[in-house]
């Protein structure tokens, strides 16, 4: 237990620093947008309705979706800037997260600022005119001072929202306190999940209290309170900046959102560190995002699976013999995307239909064809992307699969559903440690409807000639067998005595060096 807390605490400076920088930047920009907009529209009922309506509309988009949407938007924009001005925009990490959070942060500030400006008593407005104030004087002497405390209250609401929503920046590759939550959820590390939630809540409370101090100072016209609050906020952000920006790494390793990917990213990182190369990790990326990020050069290295690349990226529906497929992928990647396929790590992590052994035996199911005969009585639990992937289409039409019900789960919870009986069959992963540990069976695929999923080490085009990087990574090719990977995955996924992905990666690394058999050339 305390091991996990220590591991979480060690990551805090980086995660918290990044989280603070991201939230503060979003709030500052949102304020800079909201206040002038409020001044502009406060006295225009139509403009007010339109602007507030727009801000409210944005607010109805779920936070995660909003952040995710900025990735394709930036990708498209980046294409335009590349063509017109010869530079591209970063499509992952800080920029999309910042833009989404900024848009998200606007409404409370804007709404309160408009409220503050429109709720000034008519008598006060009449007096301002009657004493002979110009428009500008009325703005600076009356409107702004009277609206300021109400706008400040909006800023407080916005700060609390933004700090909470910033945890959702993790899937687009921006480090935040959400890294605890996302990785904790995938590896069933509840200490991490709890730690991430507590840290985000504490940060929100501290920020809210300091802003409350400023608000109080503004309302009561106590300049000292305002200065104290603003100074404390500035020191906090500066400290975050110092820890957050200090780290400058040369290479970016990426990982999707499951345990194996976290372990492999750690393993790659350790390997590079041993070769004297510094790297940072963006983990929790979606399958579609991660490959585009590699192709665009936002990510330097990651591990993807041949079947995924074949069906999703190359959009192929035929399934050629294994070796031909690997050769075709390597060629296509090089030719079409400039991506270098360094080789297979030595194991496959295929999609498979997975059942509890006892249940499968009761029903006499051992192949997907057997499964199809019983599917009408069975409920199917899939991970979040399986039912929209081509493999599912292909398996379903090859075997004519019609389940009684289909539900999608987060991968971790999907196994829980299988064990708990809510699902009879799940879309499991063949390298998953839980398959052996929980006495599960992977149904065979006699028709070959699901392609093979070799774990391939991919390097972005710009690094394809980087000899130091390639030399650091090459020792990993062909040396990790399925048992090694399964047991490493299980150490992270199991309920008791679980290891961090970093610790699991170290175990793999030790086995690699202990084994003296040379890697396949």
């Amino acid at each position: 237990m305390s091991e996990q807390w220590r591991a979480a605490l060690a990551l805090l400076p980086e995660y918290l620093g990044q989280h603070v920088l991201l939230s503060a930047a979003a709030l500052v920009i949102a304020t800079l947008i909201s206040l002038p907009t409020a001044l502009l529209v406060a006295s225009r009922p139509t403009g007010r309705t339109i602007v507030l309506g727009l801000a409210r509309l944005v607010q109805t988009i779920p936070g995660l979706a909003l952040i995710a949407l900025f990735y394709p938007i930036l990708l498209a924009l980046s294409g335009v800037t590349q063509q017109r001005f010869g530079f591209s925009l970063p499509t992952l990490g800080f920029l999309p997260a910042l833009l989404a959070l900024t848009v998200f942060a606007i409404l409370p500030i804007l709404q309160n600022a408009v409220l503050g400006l429109t709720s000034i008593a008519p008598d006060v407005i009449e007096a301002s005119d009657a004493v002979g104030m110009t428009r500008r004087q009325r703005l600076t002497l009356v409107d702004i001072p009277l609206a300021a405390p109400i706008a400040m209250a909006g800023l407080r609401t916005s700060a609390v929202w933004t700090i909470g929503a910033a945890t959702l920046a993790t899937p687009v590759g921006q480090t935040s306190l959400g890294n605890y939550i996302f990785s904790g959820l995938q590896t069933e590390n509840w200490v991490f999940v709890l730690f991430g939630c507590l840290a985000a809540a504490m940060l929100a409370i501290v920020a809210d209290s300091l802003l409350a101090l400023v608000e109080h100072g503004v309302a009561r016209r106590r300049i000292r309170l305002v200065i104290a609050g603003v100074a404390a906020l500035a020191i906090g952000v500066a400290a975050a900046g110092a820890t957050g920006l200090h780290r400058t790494s040369t290479y970016v390793i990426a990982a999707k959102n499951f345990s194996e990917q976290f372990i492999l990213a750690e393993l790659i990182g350790q390997q590079m560190r041993a070769a004297g190369l510094s790297s940072s990790t963006k983990s929790g990326l979606g399958s579609a995002v991660i490959f585009r990020a590699l192709a665009a050069g936002d990510v330097d290295v990651y591990v993807d699976y041949s079947g995924t690349l074949w069906t999703n990226v190359m959009e192929r529906s035929d399934i050629p013999p294994h070796k031909e497929m690997l050769a075709a992928i390597t060629q296509w990647m090089q030719r079409e995307r400039g991506v270098k396929v360094l080789g297979s790590l030595g194991f496959q992590n295929a999609y498979g239909f997975v059942m509890r052994r006892q249940r499968a035996q009761e029903l006499g199911i051992s192949t997907i064809a057997d499964l199809a005969r019983h599917a009408g009585q069975l409920s199917f639990g899939a991970d979040l992307e399986f039912t929209v992937r081509p493999e599912w289409q292909s398996a379903r039409s090859a075997y004519n699969l019609n389940f009684r019900s289909i539900r999608t789960y987060d991968p971790t919870l999907m196994y829980r559903a299988l064990m708990g009986g809510e699902a009879d069959v799940i879309s499991g992963f063949t390298s998953d440690g839980r398959i052996a540990a929980s006495d599960l069976v992977v149904l065979s695929d006699p028709q070959g409807a699901i392609p093979p999923y070799d774990a391939l080490l991919l390097v972005t085009g710009a690094r394809a000639g980087d000899a130091r990087l390639l030399d650091a990574l090459k020792p990993l090719v062909g040396v990790i067998n399925i048992e090694t990977m399964r047991s490493a995955n299980y150490t992270v996924d199991r309920d008791n005595d679980k290891l961090t992905p970093a610790a699991a990666a170290q175990i793999i690394a030790k086995r690699l060096t202990r084994k003296d058999d040379p890697p396949t050339p």
């Binding site: 008598d123 407005i125 007096a127 009657a130 004493v131 002979g132 009277l146």
Partner: protein
Amino acid sequence: MPDVIELNRVGLRFGAQDILREISLRVAHNEFVSIVGPSGSGKTSLLKCVNRLVEPTSGLVSIDGSPARELKVEDLRRSIGYVFQGIGLFPHMSVAENVSITPRLNGADKTATGSLVADLLKLVELPATLAARMPHELSGGQRQRVGIARALAAKPRIMLMDEPFGALDAVTRESLGHSVRRLHQQLSLTTLMVTHDMMEALLLSDRIVVLVDGAIRFDGSPADVLNSTDDVVASLVAVPRRSADRISAMLQQPRSRA
């Protein structure tokens, strides 16, 4: 010497509605004129035409012989005191800051306005200790006295008052009324006051203008008002007259009993 305020055939329309019709009115230096009339008769609009809080649709308003519309509107307003029922003290400013606002708009700095604030508070019979208070800490009467002090701060020659005692209790009205009349004399002001209360107009003014449906119905001294045969004027005077009669009757009874 031209009249201080002169309205020449001033008209005001809102859409299809005539608020003011062909109003011509002259107010001489140091005259105290009350505008009386039923609600909706256009009294407030007429007053606001003087400092251009309302711009007339037709006709001409002149201040000291020069057309008001040719002056810079802020300069015009800063040179005219304005007191109204809503008072409109700035809630985020202290009494001192409220009182000194117009001189500060005119460019005076804070140190120069310090003694001015003390003088003005004294003039409106408020203790100097109130200077640091915030408006919400004052009583209604004190607030309106601050409102009057604010209106006087830039040493205006004209004072416009719109139901200045409307929101106050009878005792406060009475004492504030006295103060206003005293200040009018002491500072040689030219005062135009809107009120719906004929009694107040009779007791404070040199001249009373009765406005009905946006037009002047009657213009004369308090004595003329009391002797008028005009039915509207008579109805406006009826209530104060009855009250006065009843009170004088009560005052005579104990004597007759003795």
